[in-house]
Each structure stands twice: as structure tokens, then as C-alpha cells.
Amino acid sequence: MKRLMSGNAALGEAAVLSGCTCYFGYPITPQNELTEYMARRMATSGGVFIQSESEIAAINMVLGASVTGARAMTSSSSPGISLKQEGISYLAADELPAVIVNMARGGPGMGNISPAQSDYFQATRGGGHGDYKTIVLAPGSVQELTEIVPLAFDLADKYRNPVIILGDGMLGQMMEPVDFDNLQRPPDYEKDYTLTGAKERPARKIHSLIFDTKLQEEHNWKLFRKFRLMEQNEVRYETYLTDDAEMIVIAYGFGARIAKGAIKRLRQENLKVGMIRPVTLWPFPAKALRDMAKTVNDFFVFEMSTGQMVEDVKLSLEGRGHVHFYGRPGGVVPMPIELSRIIARHYIQAQAGGRRRKR
């Protein structure tokens, strides 16, 4: 049955249906509907809800709940996510699962409360101190959000690593029809690391302090091998009208929805534009882009920032194609018609320069 829900509320419901029993959060716009939803929902589902004194406290409460084996989540928006980075680094170091939601807003600093995509670097490069990565999932619609949430909890448990859901103020606050009919609660994993009291087993200790540099190095390589497994197994992306495309747009999240609208207009004008939409921003669909470069010369990156993912596109292509960029930072959300005009100009210039599909 379809219900009309905001992205934030739908995310909360999907989390509870995914087995999340502990939520900790601190108010910040544009994600307050999620915190408020969890306050009501946890009261009826028997879960734990705390409005914490800070983002730092919230992520550390998540760490505490996670170490007991509970599925735990926190959410915030850009400035608050900066505060959570300490705890995310510890979660990664301790190999503890958690889901962290960022309904991003314009920045840097206080910025504003409008949708933005300027937290891409922070999300995809670990974000806190030390050598680690987090899986970053970027849904583009409220319905997709409900499918991403169980996946996020599953990947967190599977790899024992924090997972970031990166949305933006638009995704969090707009209302769309959504159903939870196909939402499957992720399986429970055998957790042999949890702290539950030393009953009928030796005492356990979980810590990230490793004074012996050789052991710390081995721990770093162990994490690295885990991250490489994620890169091999967890890349997710969507392709749209790529078969005959002369130009591929790369955009994610809400930006990809704007881009899709732009591409529909361009197709009406017979401009052969397609799209690759990364769903996992880390691991990034690098191979998909490289494969695409066998036939396509021109890649157009659109982001609601001054250009962050564009660096991953360039790193992925390794010089195999022309990379175009258009960005609208600061919380500005362009209309599809604006984006379609920009793409069309780049497209026509590329064609005039003699660049065509390679085969």
C-alpha cells in the first residue's frame, strides 16, 4: 500500500522495519522529521530513542549500542556530520556496524538549510582521521531510500563497518508516495565480537589503541583488505539511455533526478545523452565509467557543489575521455531546463569539434 511520506519519515520507518532498535540524534535542519519520527516510532516499537546533547554524544551512543550487537543509527546534516567524524573513525577502527544518515545542506560553515551535495569528499574519503573508508549510499527518491536503508544495515553488519546514507535536504523533506511492501529485514549475522558480559566465555576487549606499530600496520592492512572486498562486491549504479549515447551525464542522488529531467528534454531534441548514476559513491563505479569510455568520448558531471565527484570521474577514466562539469553550490537547485541548456551547449561543441562515439 502506498503512503505519502517525507523522505526523512520514510527513512525512519524503513530503519525500524530493518531491525534498527536504537536511534540517537540531535536536532538539525533539514533532517528533523527523522528524529521526530524516531521519537514516536521507537516508543511504540519498544526501541531506544535518545535526543542527545550533541552530535558527538549521539555517535558515541551509537558506538555503545552497536557493541552490544544492536542495529543502531544516527542522523544529522552537514555541520552535525562534521561533529560525528570522531565517532565514525572509532567505529571503523573498532570494526563496529552503524548507519549514519546525512541529509546534506549548503556549506561550508553554518551554510544554509537548502539541499546541497558538497559533503561528497567528506563522505567518500573516510571523513575523520586515519586510514579508513565508509560505504556511501546515495538514493535519489523516497522509494529508493526505503530500499537503501535495509541494504545499509545489511552492509554495515556484513562488513562490520559504518555505512553512510548521503541524501540532501530535498530528499529528506519532500513527500512522495512510498510503500514498504517489499522491504525485507536483513538477516541477523553471527556476532562473535559483541560485549554482553563475560558469561560462559572469556572476557572481551574492543579498542583501537594499538601501541605496537607493527600490529597497527597489520590492523590497517586488514581494514584495507576489507575495503578492497567492498570495492569488488558492493559497487552499485544505474544506467539510463546509455546504449546509443554520445555524451554520458554522471550525477547522483537528487542531482541525478534533475539530470534525468534534463536528458528527457535533450532526447526530444534528438541529442543522444545518457546517464550513469552512482548509487554507491564509495565504492565508486570506476569500472563502469572506464567501460563506457570504450564507446563514449564525452562525460558530463553535474553536482550541486563546485566539483567533488568530478575528481572521482577523472580518476576513474584515467584520461580516457573529455570531462565536462557543471555545478551549482550553496543550496541552489537548478531546474532541468537550465541543466539541459548547459548540457546541450557542451554536447554541440563536442560534436562540432568532431568527437563522436568510438563505435
Binding site: 558527538i56 551509537v62 558506538l63 555503545g64 573498532d94 558469561k199
Partner: protein
């Protein structure tokens, strides 16, 4: 022959890394004694700090999670809310609880979280080499107050028990010391009481323990113990700072609820 002292089984056969004359070793031993005597090893979960106490997981035969500097009370909150049946306590130093983690401790106390905080106050940052702590006394010389702590430049000693006593959620706050045998006995009783109150679901408890740090105080071990009595206790008076049955709501509804445990009294 009557046994008057034995090493608690829960204290691992390991050498403490603590400096000679340090109070941490005594507090570590007392914690394991209390948990053993109250038969709580199967439910106890300790949150270790950053600072001199951070390696206690090498000595404790109970489950231990290391916390980031200052976040112990928040981490303990997460554990206790997710597992109310466990005995959950954080072990925190003065820099940890009274500076970088004041917000986490203050609000855990204010919510009446059913956890216990073991707060070791030795008036300096020990592990980092003897810098000024929030609890450093006025005129006390440290590496960052080379002329002595000047309140105009560096503020005043923070009395955590007295500050937390104003919060309705904090129900048991006692300041003790480990500078002489009688004081050590009192400390043990205070720890046992804090744990028993947690088992009874009475809410937030904190035991502040004045502990010697001869290395960074630049004193001998005995002189350090005397200095606690003669100087430190003037600023941080010993005794029960607050003890009430409950806060502003029935304790049955307290966060975490009543913990289960055998709860043998330890006195």
C-alpha cells in the same frame, strides 16, 4: 588462618604500567574486587577512557570497550540503553570527564542514566606528561602552568560532584580518596554502593576518587598521599555530596530500568 587479602581473580596476572605510587592501580584492583564479591563479572561492561587508565583492559577480566577521550558517559549510555540487564560503568580521568567530556557526563547525569561513573581525579593530565587539568589547584605548577595555575588566565578547579549535584537525574555522588588504608576501604564501599544502586535502578551514580600522581606532582609517594589530605582535600572535600532515592520520576521508569544481578552487598 584467616585470609585478609588476596588478589582478585578478575585482576589479570599482568604488571600494571602505572608509575610507582600512582592511584590507578589501587582503583583498578578495587573495581575487580567489588565486581568479584558482588558476582557481577558475567554482566559487567566497562568503558575505558583515553589517558592513564586507558590500558585497564589489559588488567580486567571483564568485557571492556575503549571510548574516545571524554565520551565514556555517552558510550556507556548507548550500552546500557541497549542492554539494561548489564552492569555498565565508565572509568574516566579528570581531563576526560571535567574538560573534554563534560557535556557527555553532565547530560548522562541529567537524564538519570542508570550507569556508574568512576572518576579518578589526580589534578593533572598524566599520560600526556603533566599538563594542567580542569581540577588542577590554584598555584599548582604543571607543564602548562609553569608559574602555577593563575585563575585569571586558566580558571578555577572544577568540582564535578558539586556541579552534578544540582542535576535531578544524579542520585548518588561521593568523593573518596586512595591515599591511605582507611580511605581505600571507603572507596571500595562507595564503588560497591554505586554498583548496587545501579542494580536497584536508582539512576546515575558517580564516585570521584582523589588519587596521587607522584610523577607529575614531582613528589615522593608518601608525600603525595599526605598532600591529598593536607592540600587537595581542602579544595575537594571528601564525603557523600548527594544521595537521594530517586530523581523526579519513579525509578522503575528510569532509563535502562532495573538491572538484574545477584547484588550481594559488599561491605
Amino acid at each position: 588462618m584467616k585470609t585478609v587479602y588476596k588478589r582478585p581473580k578478575l585482576l589479570k596476572e599482568a604488571h600494571f604500567h602505572y608509575c610507582p605510587g600512582c592511584g590507578h592501580g589501587i582503583v583498578n584492583r578495587l573495581l575487580m574486587e567489588v565486581i568479584e564479591e558482588m558476582d557481577l563479572q558475567e554482566s559487567a561492561i566497562c568503558v575505558a577512557p583515553a589517558g592513564c587508565g586507558m590500558l585497564l583492559y589489559n588488567y580486567f577480566e571483564i568485557d571492556v570497550l575503549e571510548s574516545a577521550h571524554g565520551r565514556g558517559a555517552a558510550v556507556a549510555t548507548g550500552i546500557k540503553r541497549a542492554r539494561p540487564q548489564s552492569l555498565v560503568f565508565s572509568y574516566q580521568g579528570d581531563g576526560d570527564l571535567a574538560a573534554i567530556g563534560t557535556a557527555e557526563g553532565f547530560h548522562a547525569a541529567n537524564r538519570g542514566e542508570n550507569i556508574s561513573v568512576i572518576f579518578v581525579n589526580n589534578g593533572v593530565y598524566g599520560m600526556t606528561g603533566g599538563q594542567m587539568a580542569p581540577t588542577t589547584l590554584l598555584d599548582q605548577v604543571t607543564t602548562t602552568t609553569p608559574e602555577g595555575r593563575d585563575p585569571v588566565l586558566a580558571g578555577h578547579p572544577v568540582r564535578i560532584c558539586e556541579v552534578f549535584s544540582k542535576l535531578d537525574g544524579a542520585t548518588y555522588l561521593e568523593r573518596v580518596a586512595v591515599n591511605k588504608p582507611a580511605a581505600v576501604k571507603k572507596t571500595k564501599k562507595a564503588i560497591a554502593k554505586a554498583f548496587q544502586r545501579q542494580l536497584d535502578g536508582l539512576g546515575f551514580s558517580l564516585v570521584e576518587i582523589l588519587a596521587p600522581c607522584p610523577t607529575n606532582w614531582k613528589m615522593g609517594s608518601i608525600e603525595s598521599c599526605q598532600w591529598i589530605d593536607e592540600v587537595m582535600c581542602k579544595e575537594f572535600p571528601l564525603g557523600v555530596v548527594k544521595e537521594v532515592r530517586g530523581g523526579d520520576r519513579p525509578r522503575a521508569e528510569a532509563p535502562g530500568g532495573a538491572a538484574t544481578g545477584k547484588g550481594a552487598s559488599c561491605s
